[in-house]
Symmetry: D2
Subunit: 310 residues, 4 copies
């Protein structure tokens, strides 16, 4: 046979699982988008359409909803570990399961927002507003022996309106960019980080706390870095996470440079210097795209380098 089958995987993608937990009158939400990808003894499905080894994608969907009820959703990671283990351990033909989860945050109405602060906000027990900031990510892979757990986030848009410069770069024939000693640095962060927990013999991290702390370190590094390049800022973010969180060994960033160009107002007799508070044009495309992995020294990188298709 001149052609052969290589890597393959299948499952139901984007199951929108929402779980309400009632603690007396007080409700809590977990709002997830769950995607399943299974691999194993699936040559026959491809070569001749025999589905004898194929658990239908519809069944993987049903399992996502049923497990949310049977086991609850303590965290996206914990729930994904349950699901991945189930598919591999219960089906002889399935040797590897990967669960990818997007999590959307909700907050109680009137909770943190001082403008709409509720008189008697403690009384808001089942009314929520979608937070709308970053989407939290988790990916759990299980091969029958070990787990790999990635956590992460996307669409966290941050800006430093000063304390960013860009100069001293290569000038070739096609270089027209002017050096800038006071520019806006803004990006919409996507990042995955890898935990070193791999199986039940190790103590499992607190996934919720780990996420909060990793995000906090990323934000603090963004605030505190006087930046000479977006690459420098990413490295500071990454090394701060690795140095402060012993459960995390590797982190990868994909960071589009959301350009804010100072508009040239000189034709209208207006000075538009950054130091006086300037007017900027927020550009869509093209944009610089900066990607980097930061690792604990000595560990092997495992997070795929491509987080976008661009």
């Amino acid at each position: 046979m001149p052609t052969i089958l290589g890597q393959n995987q299948y499952g139901k993608a984007e199951n929108r699982v929402v779980k309400i937990t009632r603690d007396g009158d007080t409700h809590h939400i977990k709002d997830l988008n769950v995607s399943v990808a299974l691999s194993g003894d699936l040559d026959d499905v491809h070569y001749n359409g025999s589905n004898a080894n194929c658990l239908p994608t519809d069944t993987t969907k049903n399992t996502c909803f049923a497990f949310a009820k049977e086991y609850g959703i303590e965290s996206a990671e914990q729930y994904g570990i349950h699901l991945a283990r189930h598919f591999v351990d219960s089906q002889p033909s399935i040797h590897r399961a990967r669960i990818r989860i997007e999590e959307y945050s909700w907050e109680r109405i009137g909770g943190s927002d001082s403008n709409s602060k509720f008189i008697g906000a403690d009384e808001v027990k089942h009314s929520f507003v979608r937070k709308g900031q970053e989407t939290r990510l988790a990916q759990i892979t299980y091969d029958g022996e070990n787990f790999e757990v990635l956590s992460g986030l996307k669409d966290l848009t941050v800006m430093n309106s000063t304390n960013s410069e860009f100069w001293g770069y290569i000038k070739d024939k096609y270089t027209t960019l002017q050096e800038d000693y006071d520019r806006i640095l803004a990006t919409s962060l996507s990042t995955w980080w890898r935990h070193n927990w791999t199986n039940d013999e190790q103590r499992m991290p607190s996934w919720e706390r780990s996420y909060e702390q990793a995000k906090k370190h990323i934000l603090h590094a963004f605030v505190e870095t006087y930046s000479l390049s977006l690459q420098q800022t990413l490295y500071q973010m990454g090394s701060r996470v690795i140095n402060n969180r012993s459960e995390i060994d590797e982190i990868r960033f994909s960071a589009p440079n959301k350009h804010h160009f100072r508009q040239d107002l000189s034709p209208f007799g207006l000075d538009n210097a950054a130091k006086d508070g300037a007017v900027y044009y927020a550009a869509d495309r093209p944009y610089g795209l900066i990607e980097a992995t930061i690792l604990r020294d000595g560990v092997e990188p495992k997070i795929p380098v491509d987080m976008t298709n661009l």
Copy 2:
């Protein structure tokens, strides 16, 4: 001539104007998406391509950026009033200007979010994270004599996880829906409200405070209404705004019912009753779409009824 020209308008849409204001070391952001639409003596442009009466859309773009520098952006509404007045009063051929503005909110990193609360958050002077919740809206129209100012918002996604019922409706040949006495009510609100300020002889409202208060009343009505239909909830929101804010005469809502259907888990021997905390499937399409205007008694409605194309 068998065909004639009817209503027409033109201008530059989606000018992404970002203004940083520096108050010592403390920076503030206004982040706007500004669209200009002009009407007037423009028959010749259409009939024979003579542009003698046409202010180029590129010029309207330049004006948006220049005005942000010259006059600052106190509020989207105030800035839009400046722009609309300028186009009509400075150009004999332009008789009507409409400025539509989307505003994106940013908050200081570590400010309100207790998880990432900054040690020394007072020191965060120029670092921001995009809030990501609702987009604020403003529309200013000027005809050379009077202004019409609409404010509003879109993409404010809210949920009550209980205290919503739906029953007692018409049953016809095509009705299969089961009555529900404990359902999730969720929607992604779009709304415009109209101010009764029309010219400088009246005292101008505080646009920022008016927005905060209108939003607060909408959210409070959502929290406090035990809902028998989404229509009832919208009416409560609207009447609360009209009754509490004397500067607002009319409000229109477009509210997709973001369905959360309880997943049927009975095939797996699982009970999934709402009262115990249920698992829901968040559906994309189709969705109920509920739209309504609420008015101060005696005023004439002016907000267009179509806020979507569906």
Copy 3:
């Protein structure tokens, strides 16, 4: 009561109805996205949540699917007329129904595309590729006596790579644009046109043929107009439709100017004149947005002027 209810409507939006018709071995597809909006005696639903006059949105969904089976889908317009008539005529509390439809085109694989032309393409009886060009639109409104039928399209992206100029416009303090005697004219057309058929006493147009012809006239006018402004091109398109199609009385366009700016390559010693075949930068935002109605002389305009929210 200080606040009152104004215009309101509700229904199920975005029902994705796909109908396969089998003509022996040869299959045909109608692929629609159907949105229902009903109005009538609905004050109680808003004031106190009584649903006694409310046909559930879920029932309107069921009706869309059932009618596709019972009556087929001869055309989007014909199908929408059936639905609108049904809701108003069968429900005493419903006084007005509006059906909006998006239609997606499919073509037989290998049919028109010479590159993938099928050996034995006549044999392709049930294999389709989504055409992906414009989305066809229809809106049918019925008030119990008369119909209003709009047809239209959106996302038809066209380009003239020459025969477009822009000069002779107003120059004010904020004008920096250079006149251009050979520019690209490109737009992504959205348009609605109104038929003068209103009830069964008139002969009903052939909706499919009317659509094809209206689209053809729009495209031909685009090809044949040497353009001094996008407004002029729109007027030519509109008047050509009105003059050639007696069943159409009014047409409205919303046309973003999809700017293709000649890139300045002079810093690299390269001339980039249009006459030699130039390199252009396709810009996203901002963009000129040109909107206009063209009418048969003597008729009253009825198509809403706002086709976008910008």
Copy 4:
């Protein structure tokens, strides 16, 4: 140092390069979205913000536009080879360049569409309509010695309205799916294939013809395969490309199962069997996602397995 830098890359993404070629009065378009990613001696940029080895992303943008003028765009692949070679060969600090290109197709107005067929279509020399079907893809990677050239496409939506079955699969505790002997099979194909050309010592393929032929074989396999699983159809597509195109060694597919579920119309007394021409509900989420690589026997797979983030 406890943390180290791993894989990193940077460049300008989404440069919208449009090239018009004039052949007398007849114009041709190449419409590309070009993304550059460079790697090399970039440790200092990350560790301390020194940009001495960093060619600015703005320069990579300028180069994309200048090369389109200097060398033209014979094909996306040929143009990408020029760019990749330039960045690595001209900059000592850059050791690897990856160029990713999306290409959008345009056709002459009135050309292939019989409905809008132009009287005198041969006269349509500079008027185009965007085709709107698949987006063509190319990725060129160069390490200073060898090239890797991937070609591909995305968003090619195809449907077989019969000749698809799904049965004989695993039934476990969570399986509720009914077997189906006459279902719709529809998908929106994304695919990358890898050429075995790696440097100038080999004869370079005709990239345009290779693309056309690969696409044709994919479509023909879709038409001709009586499908018992989407996996089977993908394998047929892939093996047909490998077997017929000696320049291609490997191909990967990512294929969401665009579910069209037969609507249950039995509550309304309507039979909705497939054999009679049925009404289907086109579902959005969740969806089966099927991914597979097909290889020439003996070659090593190199296309990354993840083409989506789900």
